[in-house]
């Protein structure tokens, strides 16, 4: 199975990554090798394992009580740009 350069560019775009030419070439090669290795998974029989025990899951609900208040300054302090108590972003278009 070979991944094409075009596919790498498409995947990078989905992942919001801009790759250099060198990176695109490298990932093309490395991902092809890795996915070749994964190819063996496709040979597994269609076994139903749904009856096996899963991690305990239950519907977890709790009262929505604030336990830590007045932290908005600390949260905003981690952002590169803030204005009037809000995250600031550049124009979308």
């Amino acid at each position: 199975m070979t991944i094409t350069r075009k596919e790498i560019e498409h995947i990078a775009n989905l992942a919001r990554l801009e790759l250099s030419d060198e990176e695109t070439t490298r990932y093309e090669q490395q991902l092809t090798n890795i996915l070749d290795f994964f190819g063996r998974l496709r040979q597994i029989d269609d076994l139903d394992t749904s009856d096996d025990p899963e991690v305990e899951n239950y519907s977890a609900t709790r009262v929505d009580e604030p336990v830590q208040q007045d932290v908005s300054d600390q949260i905003l302090a981690n952002s590169a740009e803030v204005e009037k108590g809000q995250f600031k972003i550049p124009p979308v278009f």
């Binding site: 991944i3 596919e7 790498i8 498409h10 995947i11 990078a12 989905l14 992942a15 919001r16 990554l17 801009e18 790759l19 990176e23 990932y27 490395q30 991902l31 090798n33 890795i34 996915l35 290795f37 994964f38 063996r40 998974l41 496709r42 597994i44 269609d46 076994l47 394992t49 749904s50 096996d52 025990p53 991690v55 305990e56 899951n57 239950y58 977890a60 709790r62 830590q68 932290v71 600390q74 949260i75 302090a77 981690n78 952002s79 590169a80 740009e81 995250f87 972003i89 550049p90 124009p91 979308v92 278009f93």
Partner: protein, 488 residues
């Protein structure tokens, strides 16, 4: 014996008797850090001032008669786990300067028990790596031989305990990131059952696999930390409400314990000294009364392809939040789109990008069933293998890795070879089982060898019993790296 060589059990006794103060103890570790940290680089952030302040507070609390189980004992925390007010980078430049506004549940529980946080340890970025070579803040060196990697991703935590920077450390384990560095550095490392310890405040990598784990010199110390952090947390709905098991430190034989050995867990390409160390351990365990049972785990060879689909798929979703808006630096831009692309492209490292690419591919339209769907099915087969195995045995014994600590740069530019090294630690991660790495000797080059014990779901107590018994008749866990050991 130096104070920094003592176990937590012994430190608690000395603190309680007033033979040493938490300040003196913390200062002793900080001196050790001053001496060896420039060579080893176990930490991304050492909080000397904060640690001494906490130590002073612990001493004052003790003077007032306050009693807490771990009062005044220092601990190091992997930089993937939040400590309120202390920088948290996850080993990545994309979180440089991030100060978390809250502490992870595990951090809070350690603090509530009186522990002193000494600093944040180095890790491959977002836990993606098995050597710390993929930390964006420089790699950690193995104190047993500084030309070798400490393992990873929790390499900084393993070295912190091995180099006596701290008596214990927290790590995280998604596919072996506690067990493998513990093995490489000659310390004990426990990955609890998935769902036993809260993930609230852990920076997410693979959410169906991530577990917070513990490093210590011996099983007794590891357990003290484990029982402090374990148990249900309303902030993590995957945590179990089952009570944390209790253990009996006086039970030091293995009578009646059935220990499973699976041929699939002993690959052909195995360093010979590891094979003989495991054989020696089996003899010891028999001598303690254990019954050795042959078993088969026919599907565990699928673990590498399964893991390297599922974990990157989960990671590609989890890491979508790092977009330059809410945390970390923001790379230059004119429009919103530039913020996303420039910040992520420039500040994610090579291995992180590679995994995001694999995961995005596996989840993308047209490939989902072939990769993610099939991987989930195969994960079910691995779980079933273990379920059947534990009908006949109490614990499974295997190795941690097919070699001891690799030389720095061994896997440069061959990611698949690096992924294949995880073959022994991935199966219990995929099955959500508790697993432990304990030191069982040194190879011909003087590098530590680890053995891995795997238990049934929520049975960390079985691992404790096995390790406690082994460590009561052996002294592998006492061995120290030559550069660290007290000079005669």
């Amino acid at each position: 014996m130096r104070i920094i060589d003592h176990s937590i059990a012994s430190l608690i006794v000395q603190l309680e008797r007033g033979e040493i103060s938490s300040c003196e103890l913390t200062e002793a570790y900080l001196r050790q850090i001053d001496m060896f940290e420039p060579t080893l680089h176990a930490f991304i952030h050492v909080d000397a001032e904060g640690a001494l302040r906490q130590a002073k507070a612990a001493d004052n609390a003790r003077a007032k008669g306050e009693q807490k189980p771990l009062l005044g004992v220092p601990i190091a925390i992997k930089d993937l786990i939040t400590v309120e007010g202390m920088p948290c980078t996850a080993g990545s430049k994309i979180l440089e300067g991030y100060i978390p506004p809250y502490s992870a549940t595990v951090t809070r529980r350690l603090r509530d028990a009186g522990m002193v946080v000494i600093g944040k340890t180095n890790t491959d970025a977002f836990g993606m790596g098995s050597s710390t070579e993929y930390s964006d803040y420089g790699m950690t060196k193995n104190p047993w031989n500084i030309e070798h990697v400490p393992g990873g991703s929790s390499g900084g935590s393993a070295v912190a305990v091995s180099a006596r920077f701290s008596p214990a450390a927290l790590g995280t384990d998604t596919g072996g990131s506690v067990r493998q560095p513990a093995s490489n550095c000659g310390v004990c490392g426990l990955k609890p059952t998935y769902g036993r310890v809260s993930r609230s405040g852990l920076i997410a990598f693979g959410s169906s696999l991530d577990v917070c784990g513990v490093f210590g010199q011996d099983m007794e110390d590891v357990w003290k930390i484990f029982e402090t952090i374990a148990g249900h947390d309303p902030l993590d709905m995957t945590t179990s409400k089952r009570p944390v098991p209790t253990v009996d430190p006086n039970l030091t034989d293995l009578r009646g314990l059935r220990v499973g050995i699976a041929p699939e867990f002993f690959p052909d390409r195995l360093q010979p000294e590891i094979r003989s160390a495991l054989d020696g351990l089996i003899v010891k365990m028999r001598g303690l009364g254990a019954e050795i049972v042959d078993l088969s785990l026919p599907h565990i060879d699928l673990a590498v392809p399964v893991y390297y689909i599922l974990a990157p798929a989960e990671a590609s979703a989890n890491l979508a939040r790092f977009d330059g808006i809410r945390f970390g630096p923001r790379e230059d831009y004119e429009k919103l789109w530039d913020v996303f692309f420039n910040t992520r492209s420039r500040l994610f490292g090579d291995e992180v990008k590679r995994r995001i690419m694999i995961g995005t591919y596996a989840l993308s339209s047209g490939y989902y069933d072939a990769y993610y769907g099939q991987a989930n099915k195969a994960r079910g087969l691995i779980k079933r293998d273990f379920k059947l195995a534990f009908e006949n045995v109490d614990v499974i014994l295997t190795l941690v890795a097919p070699t001891t600590a690799l030389k720095i740069g061994a896997h440069h530019d061959d990611p698949l070879a690096m992924y294949l090294e995880d073959i022994m630690t991935l199966p219990p991660s995929l099955a959500g089982l508790p697993a432990l790495s304990i030191p069982v000797g040194l190879d011909n080059a003087g590098l530590p060898i680890g053995a891995q014990l795997i238990g049934p779901q929520f049975r960390e107590d079985v691992l404790y019993r096995a390790a406690r018994a082994i460590q009561s008749v052996t002294d592998w866990h006492v061995a120290q790296p030559p550069m660290i050991a007290e000079k005669a």
